[in-house]
């Protein structure tokens, strides 16, 4: 009688720098629910971590393992792993929750009934960054002739937004320069940054993760790149990532979609029930930092999904198929956020059968040398541009992976 929620984590290896805060945040929120509420509607959550080391093959091994143990939902925590488990999950009937990562096209719920990527896709992220740049330049038309550099982890993750960036480059007339960073050379980016120095792009966008991000920030300061023009996707916003550049990294910007710091009810509860009770692995100095909170946010989605599934089915002990409906019918309102102590921490969000992402609002944070500071209001990515493209991408995916199954799952909302 338990709800088995596996966490694919990487507390070791070159990606541990980003993996540890995420894993802690995810783990601690679920533990907090167990400690404070005795689980969800009286059923305890069993949290099982499986170490992937951000390695796709290990991820698949973990997938097989948790599948055999009856996992409710898969959070691969890697775009690469997500891509690999998507086809399997639809056959095995286990929902995949890739929160703000993974395959952007999976937002098309009709093509990908088993995959969820709220609150935003990478394509939303890319469009949001370009939107912010455009705003600073005084309008999208001023981007014409500008050079925007894109430095990315050369893996499923970093490649994901490229089609969109290319599309935007041709639509808006800016030049897109690509600087791939191979996974095994993340800590040795001097060539990429030499090239950047030569090419002098006006803006830099980074899709970095693990040891790649701090190295990139450091290299950027070395070539004296103007940090205010350097944007990271939300995942490149670890506190350590920016701190690696020291004072000189001031001005580095990343996207975000949840609160930073510990001034929220939910974070206080975690502190009280988990951290102070010695049930967390988190280093007190790193408690409630940016990526930790993101882990909390992710677990909240899982918990809410379970709750919704319980509501829908009337069972307390649900299975993976129920979980899918729960996620599909997520509707986290302002009121609900308040109940769970997340007022001001996140925006309300809602998913539907067609839209498994929601393309919600984001905001920009800026590094002030010590911590992340909010640098502007919540704003929406260019949903009108992104959505049709996603639709097309989903169709392409289904075609190239023929025979891709038609959606058979009933839509409950």
């Amino acid at each position: 009688e338990e709800l088995f929620v596996p966490l694919f984590s990487y507390r070791t290896g070159p990606f541990a720098g980003s993996g540890i805060p995420i894993a802690n945040g995810m783990h601690d929120y679920l533990t907090m629910l167990n400690e404070r509420d005795g689980g969800i509607n009286g059923v305890k959550i069993r949290v099982g971590e499986c170490e992937t080391g951000y390695d796709t093959q290990k991820g698949v091994e973990c997938y097989e393992q948790v599948k055999s143990e009856g996992a409710l939902v898969i959070s691969p925590y890697s775009t690469g792993i997500t891509l690999q488990v998507i086809p399997k999950a639809s056959v095995d009937k286990i929902p995949v929750l890739s929160m703000a990562y993974g395959l952007s096209a999976a937002a098309e719920g009709n093509t990908f009934p088993w995959v969820f990527n709220p609150p935003n896709t990478y394509w939303d992220g890319a469009s949001a960054i370009v939107t912010d740049i455009a705003n600073r330049e005084g309008g999208a038309e001023n981007l014409k002739g500008k050079k925007i550099g894109y430095i990315f982890l050369d893996a499923g993750y970093g490649r994901e937004p490229i089609p969109l960036l290319e599309q935007m480059s041709s639509d808006m007339g800016f030049e897109l320069l690509q600087y791939p960073v191979p996974g095994k050379e993340m800590q040795n980016q001097s060539s990429q940054w030499l090239n950047i120095r030569r090419d002098r792009p006006d803006y830099m966008i980074m899709w970095g993760w693990g040891a790649m991000s701090p190295t990139a920030v450091k290299e950027a300061t070395k070539i004296r790149y103007n940090m205010e023009n350097f944007y990271g996707i939300w995942w490149s916003g670890g506190n350590d990532d920016a701190a690696a550049g020291g004072e000189a990294a001031k001005g580095y910007r990343t996207l975000n979609f949840h609160g930073v710091g510990s001034d929220f009810g939910v974070i206080q509860d975690i502190k009280k029930y988990v951290v102070d009770a010695g049930k967390s692995q988190v280093d007190p100095a790193k408690f409630a930092d940016n990526l930790y909170n993101r882990g909390v946010y992710n677990s909240m989605l899982i918990a809410e999904g379970i709750r919704r599934a319980q509501e829908l089915t009337g069972k307390t002990v649900i299975d993976a198929v129920d979980m899918r409906s729960g996620l599909e019918n997520l509707d986290i309102t302002e009121a609900r956020l308040k109940e769970i102590g997340m007022e001001g921490f996140a925006l309300p969000m809602k998913l539907s059968c067609e839209d498994h992402s929601g393309h919600h609002k984001v905001y920009v944070v800026e590094w002030d040398g010590k911590d992340w500071k909010k640098a502007g209001d919540w704003f929406s990515p260019d949903v009108d541009m992104v959505k049709p493209l996603l639709k097309k991408a989903a169709a392409d995916y289904a075609e190239s992976n023929a025979p891709w199954p038609e959606r058979t799952e009933a839509c409950l909302n």
């Binding site: 800590q187 060539s191 693990g210």
Partner: protein, 319 residues
Amino acid sequence: MDFLYAILIDPFVQMVELPDFLLQVLWEGFVAGVLYALIALGFVLIFKASGVFNFAQGIMVVFAGLTLVGLHEKGVPAYLALILTIGVMGVLALAVERFVMRPLVNQPDIILLMSTIGLTYFLIGFGEFIFGGEPKQMITEELGLPTGSTAFEIGDGGLLILQHIDIAAAVIAIIMVGCLAVFFNKTRIGRALRAVADDHQAALSVGISLNQIWAIVWFAAGIVALTTGIMWGARSDVSFALEIIALKALPVLILGGFTSIPGAIVGGLIIGIGEKIGEIYWGPLVGGGIESWLAYMIALIFLLFRPQGLFGERIIERV
């Protein structure tokens, strides 16, 4: 024609047009080369002394760096941590000698190579077990190493930026090589080392104490690893991701010849500078990223002409 132009002419045009940038590229290559050379040096020490290709050298670099930083994180003052780390490397040397090398005396090269890969796994597991798996920042300032950078104006508007830590790395590498050369030229030990590398059993039979010699060289390699770890850690963080970069030492080593200390240095510089120049000026023609294999190709081409590397010992073939 265009293609030939792009390969044969254009890169040089670029070099001439932006001389400051070329200098920067050379400098970056040089610094990378020095660091490769330092790793290679550790390999050479052990290879020279036992014929063992110590695959674990790369991991020893990380392990030493992690120990240093880890101790500091646990509240040990920087210099004390440094001394303790040297001690840890000493213990490691003794342990390796006792539990790996001694029981495997007189085994074929490949077995010894494998055992060092086993050691690599062990050290990765052990290091992460103790210090955790996340990258750590090197305690550069605490150790009194220079930080910051100096920029030189070159021509009109040109800029050459030198990181102080890189300059320090180059200086320390040179000093280190000097010391090692002296150490090896103390003929008695130096000769004994080479004898061991040739034939373990014969070395035993003339009374060379393998145990002692191995402990010494592994310790020396440990010190080299620590130095490398500090220098490299100062450039990027200390984490096990460095281990893969350490593989680059292999082409360096092969280029220089497995047994040659100057070879390690020259090889390191050739590879470091060669791959940087290649990547920056020719890489874009094929989509970039050629750095990941260029070093090996350079080494391979050299080998075709000199199968024993630039400074390596002749390969003896006789019947």
